[in-house]
Amino acid sequence: MRDAEFFRSWMAATAAAVEREADRLTELDSPIGDADHGSNLLRGFTAVRTALDAETPAAPGAVLQLAGRTLISTVGGASGPLYGMLLRRTGKELGEASEVSDAELREALDKGVGAVAQLGGAAPGDKTMLDALLPGVAALGTSYRAAAQAAQDGALATVPMQARKGRASYLGERSIGHQDPGATSSALLLGALADVAERAEGAR
């Protein structure tokens, strides 16, 4: 079972990964976006870390809902509402239980990814976050590491895709050949989850 501390660690590990990779995310966002994905997410997850330190929610669902709300209000770019909805919907699905099972988390994340698809209106293959999140969450049944790997592979697979959503879609065929920044940061989120899960296993 996973408690609120596990989810706080997940968010902190994501914040650390975003901090580490911020320059790379912004670099990926330069040819096909407006070169702010790294700085936007860094601002958002830094605010998440601060909010979680200040409020220390006691339930997994509450941790993710606070994180999601914070992202919606602080990121400033499209990734704010998209990641915000992902975490808020996942948190809402987890409810108020003080501990949740891996199966419950898997189902909740599935709903969260559904909320991202609903909000952004993207389909698989449109060169978006979903191209990492969908395979990632589908592999959660195998293991957290498998999910992280699948998300990473999904992000790499966006390179030959032509963007069909967001600013990158205005570039048409010229969006081909670039890795999608949102799919890349989505892989960081699932990578952080795998790291935290493995750390928890090691501590047992």
Partner: protein, 145 residues
């Protein structure tokens, strides 16, 4: 129920629909608000608020500014929100899904400038939210060439 120009005193007393303009740029949101107010002038003008740019003054969308603007123009008759693109649209949608905007708030599917003028003109005439949204959406049908 309709509340058109001909409803006399009752319409004058009735609360007007508020309009919020959400843009990536503070200047764009402010300027379009000014344009729409100017073109709607001639009688009472519906409350219009601009929510442009990030809280730090950069290009982007601030959920806080959007919520504050919606509250500012809410007179109880509903709030029509128009957004330019990308994060502006997604932020409004996320706020609606999360019930963080006043009751009766609605994202209007319309071109930003033309839709804003149509929405403010209709709202100023006392049209209810559905008609304000319709007037704004009709701006898509106006061909320029």
């Amino acid at each position: 129920m309709t509340a058109g120009r001909g409803d006399g005193d009752a319409a004058a007393q009735q609360a007007l629909v508020g309009v919020v303009l959400v843009s990536h740029s503070a200047q764009v949101a402010e300027s379009v608000a000014e344009l729409a107010r100017g073109l709607a002038a001639g009688g009472p003008v519906a409350p219009v608020a601009a929510a442009g740019g990030t809280s730090a003054g950069g290009l982007g969308t601030s959920a806080e500014l959007v919520v504050a603007a919606a509250r500012e123009v809410d007179r109880g008759a509903g709030v029509a929100l128009l957004a330019d693109l990308g994060s502006s649209v997604l932020t409004v949608k996320a706020l609606l899904l999360e019930d963080e905007l006043p009751p009766g708030s609605r994202l209007v599917d319309a071109p930003f400038v033309e839709g804003a003028v149509a929405a403010v003109v209709a709202a100023s005439a006392g049209a209810p939210l559905a008609q304000v949204a319709e007037a704004a959406a009709e701006a898509y049908a106006y061909r320029k060439a």
